[in-house]
Symmetry: C2
Subunit: 337 residues, 2 copies
DNA sequence: CTCAGGCGTTAAAACGTTTCAACATCGAGG
DNA sequence: CCTCGATGTTGAAACGTTTTAACGCCTGAG
């Protein structure tokens, strides 16, 4: 609609060459103050807006990075995204946020698109662990919340085995000897790792392996947590666990709701530990004990790592953060009085 | 790093001109099958990826739209975003998701950036209602969850007055005559509208205006809901409301938590109605009655409206959806038995 | 045998910027 | 007076596509 004012219109209006206008835009210090003012005035007057496409085409760079997220509706990922955004912003980069929604078709499409856009780099929490999909093709890629098994790229992750261990050790210290773990599917690396950590906690405490009852769920959603609650209550009282460790907070919230509805009390009848420590965990009716991951820092570090990819002597790094247990009411010890 | 294979490399490799390659990419039907195969093979072999910058520069179009969201961490907006994404995807457009985080500086920056990128259109839930900021400059803009007061652009909103009316009417029908409304700040249009609806419900039922106690909060976050809960319980029993209508679900969840902690029961001691019907509302310890907004449809419609902007005979439209009350346990009527 | 017309392909001109080498201009040092 | 370097500005060549008009070829009709 608009005749689209370009750099040469500005140049003509200011009585200089287009090269000078370009300099004002990109290296303001190199042009004489008087000229600069004149050019800026012309830009203002004509309402000129630089055309990024042309700039990119010529410069080869795009000033944009992307984060392909697994589930935009999960608070965990939105928090990670915030960390990414902050870091990107500090580096003067814009952030393209894409939601694969756990669908590897979508994921592939977005990667293709991003590559066509020639983004500077891609952060991704891939749908499948293999992530063979992510053809390198020259664009730097950093894995988020997944560990790169081969050394072909950087990754930022959290020690999930330790997280599981922390959670279950806490329960054992509170006197529990029959513990349920709720989570799944087992195809998810995180779930496997957290279970492994849980087993390790048992071993450390000298408890037998069958002290842990594993209830597998189909996904990590709230509804699955409710279902697990019903299964749990259905167990014969003699075998019923007195505590549950959930693979994420959504499951834990579902479990909590299920307990309340069935007239059982948390933590008295069942202690509950979640994972992720999302905001809603602290805000639950019974505030949830949870394993906190440094979400924002995860994103921030991933972005920073991505920025180092272009350095000549870059070596791929694998950063691993430590999770931390946040104790709240859902695992409070019974008063002895 | 990579020598970046271009369309002319492909052309040379396939023994055709670059125009033919371009045709294979954009109008496959116009080129002879045999040639097409040869070109496709060359593309595959060389690992060619079209350069969007160049394409855009030439074509003037970008195949990208953007949604500038007010708070990426609020489930309401992530659901709206999903609707936008679905519609965009169907139209073959990519979606640029930007988070203004209620900061009008960020919002401005993003708008500038998007304009430089020459996106096809912008969906935005603006930080301030005035939204004078959003200089038109040729890029179509559609307001989401806000009503455009002037006729300068399209908007998609939900009838918040009706929503408030539905919520409070429901409470009145359940026998409540002292009702609190929790929400704020009043600078937010939505909060004002929902309160207006609440008042209308009182009038319809022949109740006096002071049947509604308004508790203003500083934001719409969970913590504010907790604070409101404490203020509520602090009221003398004779004046204390028996029901509360919260301006959004986050407040309602906070309120719920506060009640539980103070030993009061929902809905027996206090009935609670939320707003937005986010997933966590149904998953709360006491499932929350809430006013549901057609979130995904909101986003979907906004995107579709945006697509019509370029049509020659386009007229700006203001779509307004009806909210719907979803009744759950938090307003269950006391059993009379 | 010629010619019209359809089909598939192509050469070349954009698109709006960045960049590089070259070019003035001017003051200072020899 | 000449040279030199510094400072500021510029012309023109890219960047990798899309697009338009023109082109050559072939077929079938006249």
């Amino acid at each position: 609609m608009k005749p689209s004012v370009g750099i040469r219109d500005v140049a003509q209006h200011a009585g200089v060459s287009n090269a000078t206008v370009s300099n004002v835009l990109n290296r303001p210090d190199v042009v004489a103050p008087a000229t600069r003012q004149r050019v800026l005035a012309a830009i203002e007057e004509l309402g000129f807006v630089r055309n990024e496409s042309a700039r990119q085409l010529r410069a080869g760079r795009s000033r944009v990075i992307a984060y392909v997220v697994l589930d935009a509706a999960n608070p965990f990922f939105t928090d990670v995204a915030r960390g990414v955004e902050d870091a990107a912003r500090e580096a003067g980069l814009a952030l393209f946020l894409c939601n694969s929604a756990s669908d590897d078709g979508r994921e592939r499409e977005y990667l293709e698109l991003l590559h066509e856009q020639r983004v500077e780099g891609i952060l991704i929490t891939p749908v499948d662990a293999e992530c063979a999909q992510i053809a390198e093709r020259g664009t730097p890629v950093v894995l988020v919340d997944r560990e790169a098994t081969d050394g072909t790229r950087c990754s930022v992750a959290v020690d999930d085995v330790l997280g599981g261990e922390l959670a279950v050790t806490h329960l054992i210290e509170n006197g529990h000897t029959r513990i349920a773990m709720v989570g799944g599917p087992l195809s998810i690396q995180q779930v496997r790792d957290r279970r492994e950590g849980a087993m390790r906690a048992l071993t450390n405490a000298g408890l037998p392996a069958d002290a842990l009852t594993f209830l597998e769920t189909k996904s990590l959603q709230v509804a699955e947590g409710r279902g697990a609650g019903e299964r749990l209550v259905g167990l014969p009282a003699s075998r019923r666990p007195t505590a549950a460790f959930c693979a994420n907070d959504l499951l834990a919230l579902g479990l909590l709701q299920s307990m309340t509805q069935q007239g059982l009390r948390v933590p008295d009848d069942l202690a509950v530990v979640g994972y992720d420590d999302i905001e809603f965990a602290a805000a639950a009716a019974v505030p949830l004990t949870s394993v906190r991951q440094p979400r924002e820092q995860l994103g921030r570090t991933a972005a920073q790592l991505l920025l180092t990819e272009n350095e000549p002597d870059h070596e791929h790094r694998h950063v691993k953060f430590q999770p931390e247990l946040v104790v709240r009411a859902s695992t409070a010890v019974k008063r002895r009085a």
